[in-house]
């Protein structure tokens, strides 16, 4: 068993797998930059569904996605074995090491366990996420999946000052909604970057520009991540108006990812401080790490 863990958790494999993942993502980033609209359609839909419909149709530019998942899966197995191996060699020595040194030495293992959690969180997010985009206007009564009947009671657009070069551009939009929950009316405000979480669904705003009652969209070849035109109303007339949407997201992976990110950063910062900057620990930790890892 120990031998199997040593082979599976070999650090050389970890190094190669991390680099292989980096290379695959670098290749993917080139495809994503050339086919922006196509890869943007992956966001907010379960990855497997997307791949089985759209992805397989363009295998020449999506081949790297399963390869990336394969590489990260192997990295996950390797990390698990390597971490287990290290914990098994550290725990019996915890009394000799003392609490502080043991805490420092065990922290890379904790970071790796959290890393595995983050990989799982991302996987859950990619496979189980759903996003819906529902158009609305002020005064509308609409039904939102998972939430129920909602009335849009108020809508306020805030523009940049007229005296600035950003005049006629939307700075913020706030929407007030009223939800009937078991006979009680609840009011919620939603703005850009200030979503509301209602019954486990994240409700956000999105905006498009409408001209002559048609949504203005650039051709897929011209579309980029820059969306500033959607918020610019220099030529606002009865024919040119913003069209607002509710963006409804249900993503179980978020509950692992968001807290996980912060915990990893705190432990990582503390560990690197102890091993690289704290004079009392530096030499000892380096020697210990080498003994344990190699």
């Amino acid at each position: 068993m120990k031998r199997l863990l040593e082979i599976t958790g070999d650090l050389r494999y970890a190094f190669r797998l991390i680099l292989a993942s980096a290379v695959i993502m670098a290749i993917g980033s080139i495809y994503a930059s050339i086919h922006y609209s196509f890869f943007n359609s992956m966001n907010g839909v379960p990855l497997i569904d997307w791949y089985m419909t759209k992805g397989v149709e363009k295998l020449s530019i999506t081949w790297w996605i399963p390869l990336l998942f394969f590489s990260f899966s192997l990295l996950g197995i390797n990390t698990f074995a390597c971490t287990l191996n290290r914990i098994m060699s550290l725990v019996p020595r915890r009394k000799n090491l003392g609490t502080k040194r043991f805490s420092v030495l065990i922290s890379p293992s904790v970071i790796h366990i959290l890393f595995l959690g983050m990989l799982a969180g991302h996987f859950l997010s990619f496979t189980a996420v759903t996003q819906e985009k529902i158009p609305f206007s002020e005064g509308d009564n609409i039904y939102l999946n998972g939430i129920g009947d909602v009335k849009v009671t108020a809508l306020r657009n805030e523009f940049f000052p007229e005296s600035s070069m950003l005049s006629r551009r939307i700075k913020q939009t706030t929407v007030s909604i009223s939800i009937n929950d078991n006979g009680t009316d609840i009011t919620k405000n939603i703005s850009f970057l200030e979503p509301a979480v209602i019954k486990g669904t994240i409700v956000q705003l999105d905006m498009e520009k409408k001209k002559d009652n048609r949504i203005e969209k650039p051709s897929p070849a011209d579309e980029t991540c820059n969306k500033e035109k959607k918020f610019h109303y220099a030529d606002t007339t009865a024919q040119v108006n913003p069209q607002l949407y509710f963006l409804l997201t249900r993503d179980p992976g978020l509950f692992i990812l968001l807290p996980g990110f912060f915990i990893v950063i705190i432990i990582m910062g503390w560990y690197f401080y102890q091993t690289n900057f704290s004079k009392n620990n530096k030499d000892f930790m380096e020697n210990e790490n080498e003994i344990i890892t190699v």
């Binding site: 980033s29 943007n40 970057l193 980029t224 610019h232 990110f261 990893v264």
Partner: protein
């Protein structure tokens, strides 16, 4: 606008003069010129925040302009804490990459990309600041690694700089994930920017494991550290060049 351009021109000129005096081994003069250039460059960044007539932090934190500022701050900080004059001279050689990146900034469009409501949050500012500072550490770490390989002696501890870079870059990934969640409902988006950030993170995560690998000579580790700047350059300059074509306000 004219004064605004003059400030960055003067700052870059001072960086060039600092490099010149460093070559002449006038370390003190080079340091004074670098600090003066840094102060002017800071004025340029602040005035860029005001370029539209209202204060928009996005103007200060754009990577092309903020990254050379972070590099200079790091060089000044390292020089101030160093007591040895030879060591200080070695640290100051970092002016050369700063000068190269500042010249690029000099020819880059000075206006700002009009911010959308989803781009004005403290999480976005933390993201841009820590990402550019992380890149600054990676470039400087590579520079000092190359320098130590060339001189065949280890002078500035490039490993520490790269570790700091990794921490700052990790903070940027976390703040970026929170920003992406608040703005678009998911912490990771399938797109060039997110994938390339992941490439840089993975590259330096692999670097942190090298010291525990058998059979890696010091030279090989150093070469890996130097190659990091190519990875960071490939991932960041691709975006910089792409964003040159975006509509801008104020220049």
């Amino acid at each position: 606008m004219k004064e605004f351009i003059t400030i960055i021109n003067a700052a870059v000129l001072l960086y060039a003069a600092a490099s010149f005096f460093l070559i002449l081994k006038k370390t003190k003069t080079a340091f004074i010129l670098l600090v003066t250039g840094f102060i002017l460059y800071s004025f340029f960044l602040i005035s860029r925040g005001w370029i539209t007539g209202v204060f928009i932090p996005n103007g200060m934190t754009e990577g092309v302009f903020f990254m050379p500022w972070s590099m200079t701050l790091l060089i000044i900080g390292l020089s101030v804490v160093s007591s040895d004059s030879d060591f200080r001279r070695e640290i100051l050689t970092g002016i050369i990459p700063v000068l190269c990146f500042s010249i690029f900034a000099l020819f880059y469009p000075k206006g700002i990309i009009p911010p959308t409501p989803n781009k004005m949050t403290i999480w976005a500012y933390i993201f841009f600041i820590t990402e550019a500072s992380g890149h600054a550490c990676f470039y400087l770490g590579s520079w000092y690694a190359a320098s130590s390989a060339f001189r065949k002696k280890r002078t500035v501890d490039f490993h520490k700089i790269l570790v700091w870079g990794f921490i700052l870059f990790s903070v940027s990934q976390v703040s970026g994930a929170v920003w992406a969640f608040l703005g678009w409902g998911s912490p990771f988006r399938w797109g060039t920017r997110h994938l390339q950030s992941a490439v840089i993170w993975c590259y330096y995560a692999a670097y942190l494991h090298i010291r525990f690998l058998k059979g890696w000579s010091d030279l090989r580790k150093t070469v890996y550290a130097v190659a990091g700047s190519i990875v960071v350059g490939f991932c960041s300059f691709g975006s910089y060049l792409h964003e040159m074509n975006f509509p801008r306000i104020g220049g």
